[in-house]
Symmetry: C2
Subunit: 437 residues, 2 copies
């Protein structure tokens, strides 16, 4: 990060503090990082594609709101190129290593943002999540990843992946922090984002003390027995605090498959624009292979898939009539960076087993630390609920994090004492953030 | 209509009445008609295309609910083929004449449904409305056309035009009747329709006594000075009871143009299916010319247009931040059946000037009788508001209808005395319907 860009923020923050007072700046001086497909004025946005890079003339809306609340942007983070991937290896700037074992992938596409939070460099970082990019790397690095309801956090000033589905997401060490940052970033709808929505005042803020959680009746781990055993321990722990309701996962799996095996890849083609034609070699070959396919779909295909999306979403909505949330492994498996090079599409696709459907079905999701695998890597769980149930998910997530009481991220820091207590809804004046490392 | 199909309904209704009592049947014995792209068990559905016709094995959801409330289906009505048109002339069964002057078009595509209501043959009829098919024929026949919020009335059992946009609509002689029928038909979401939505309990039921109504600052009548003069009289009348706020109509006009000059025509192509390839001559040439174009669009085009739709819809939503509703001429002009044959696409397109954007922007609309043109044809106005403001529109519409106090439809019947009074919200037990003719 350019030191001058940080110094100027401090100078501006001091002026702000003098004028409005520190109490009006709930994130006063809190450092944060953003995925490098999100604009910050004066910083380069690369989307991990040097040929695509430009210097942003305006902050992304969410960045601007966090800075207005006193936060200091200290860096931009590596990602799967054009946010197309769940792995963290599809970047000319190198693969992001897992914060627990550098032989393993970090998960992506918001790889660097998850990594800097897990390593305690910043208390929170922004990612984006279209297919699961705000959750898979949270799971692989033992941190919290909140994928808010689509339209809550503006995508104004974010390089699109699939504009109809893209979400800005928040990584933090604690649920409390992730929600606090989301509340500030999503304080109002945004005219720069045509898919921005008004947060309904009637949105639920809590779940029952013993929530009913749907869980896939048949779980798929793609042969990863270590992950299967780890999730089994998480499930045992879950059964102590929730009622687990086995459900048929078929509509979720079918909808998940539509995301990359359907016309929505044409949104990625649209986003990359003329570069695909004019300078194809500038694009990562795996990413290009995916984005190229967007040219093959017709309008007829698109509406056909949209009808199927609507039908599957309706079936999924009915599942939620009977439960408070769905709980799944964040990822069914993990791979080494070396393995990933061998099967870059197949292994990536496996990581999305429990994430790819979420935005197509207009759901929100919260990835949470859960247990450690026998090999010392983290194994996360994700809670998923209908749109605008974010706060209710956070309520359950906070309790879960207090119950697990794991060290935070890849640090050795424990959960702050305050996060182990029952916490009232955040006040509008001041927000606690866990700063560690 | 097949007499046996009516007799069997009476027999069934008598059994129902014996079992639950007449008071539980708010539409007991009320005759109604439905557009012939809506299924009724045992009746043929043609969509005005004999080669497409089939005998329905199940009632459309809305039909089934109206029959369960005691209504008797007495006929199916002519339409622009595949509901593709706003004219009422694109049918192998003949053009539907205007109920005031048979030289003129009835408007469409729900031509027959508007006609039978205007002529007092039934107190209400169902239409469908994608581009304005539930409003233009209401305007041309001096009746009420309620185009409810998309997803309130199920499209289960309706031949699709554009499935993501289609609405079932209601024609009646009075606003009160149109709303009452909609409330019954939309009593709950429907699993047969993936785009069905839950009516929010918080939806507004009324508007201020003197509502603020946006009105296009520059009105387009496509050279029809008779219509311009008629609307001017309506506007003078409106200004007595509402505050008129001139607005820039540009985003509405741009969005309207997208409907037929964009990829949404591929939805129509999808709906017609293999017939377009296997038996193109079975399709009306004008309709085929439109539906053929759906083959030309790519997925990239589709998402590009979808982004534009979202941007324009957002601009339109901001207009409604400042007003209670938008008021427009239902149609800017009208044509004779002979004229329509000369410019079938151009004149049709002109009719949609004030309707085509509505479903793309997720708005609801209420077409109302307003004034008579100097040539004796009716000139209607339409009120348009954000999703789920249907009841609030009806509130204003009821007051407007009482103020105008015109003969109903093409009958000589006056507005019932009860409709001239301020009316409490409809009770769930019993519904008044104006039966005339």
């Amino acid at each position: 990060a350019d030191a001058a860009l940080i110094d100027s923020q401090w100078a501006e923050l001091e002026r702000q503090a003098e004028s409005v007072g520190v109490k009006a700046l709930p994130l006063y001086g809190v450092p944060f990082a953003i995925k490098d497909n999100i604009d910050a004025v004066g910083w380069k946005t690369t989307a991990a594609c040097p040929a695509f890079a430009y210097t942003a003339e305006q902050d992304a809306t969410v960045v601007s709101r966090l800075r207005a609340a006193g936060a200091i942007l200290v860096g931009k983070t590596n990602l799967d190129q054009f946010a197309t991937g769940l792995v963290g290896t599809r970047s000319p700037y190198g693969a992001v290593p897992n914060s627990f074992d550098p032989a393993y992938v970090s998960g992506g596409s918001s790889a660097g943002s998850a990594s800097v939070v897990a390593r305690g460099l910043v208390p929170f970082a922004l990612g984006t999540d279209t297919a699961g990019s705000g959750r898979v790397p949270a799971g692989f690095n033992n941190i919290v990843g909140l994928k808010p309801t689509r339209g809550w956090l503006s995508i104004g000033g974010v390089v699109p992946a699939c504009r109809t589905l893209d979400c800005v997401s928040v990584f933090a060490l604690t649920v409390e922090d992730a929600l606090a940052v989301t509340e500030i970033g999503g304080s109002a709808p945004d005219e720069r984002d045509a898919y921005s929505r008004q947060h309904p005042h009637t949105a639920p803020v809590a779940m029952p003390e013993r929530p009913r959680l749907a869980i896939p009746a048949a779980l798929e781990f793609h042969g990863d027995d270590v992950m299967a055993r780890a999730f089994d321990r998480a499930r045992t722990q879950l059964a102590r605090v929730a009622e687990l309701v086995p459900i048929d996962y078929t509509p979720f799996a079918e909808l998940a498959a539509l995301l990359y095996q359907g016309p929505w890849v044409a949104e990625r083609t649209h986003a990359v624009g003329p570069l695909l034609i004019n300078d194809p070699d500038a694009i990562d070959p795996t990413v290009r292979g995916i984005i190229d396919k967007g040219l093959d779909y017709s309008a007829l295909d698109t509406f056909d898939a949209e009808y199927r999306r609507a039908e599957l979403s309706q079936r999924i909505a009915r599942v939620f009539d009977d439960v408070d949330a769905l709980v799944v492994p964040t990822s069914p498996t993990i791979r080494t960076i070396a393995e990933m090079a061998e099967q870059p599409v197949q292994y990536n696709s496996e990581f999305g087993t429990y994430t790819n459907f979420t935005n197509l079905a207009d759901l929100c999701a919260l990835a949470l630390p859960a247990v450690m695998r026998d090999d010392g890597l983290p194994a996360g769980i994700t809670l998923i609920a209908p749109a605008w149930h974010d706060r209710a998910l956070a309520d359950v997530g906070r309790r879960w994090q207090a119950l697990c009481d794991l060290p935070l991220g890849a640090t050795e820091q424990p959960l702050p004492v305050a996060d182990k207590e029952v916490i009232p809804p955040p006040s509008s004046a001041c927000v606690r953030l866990a700063v560690v490392g």
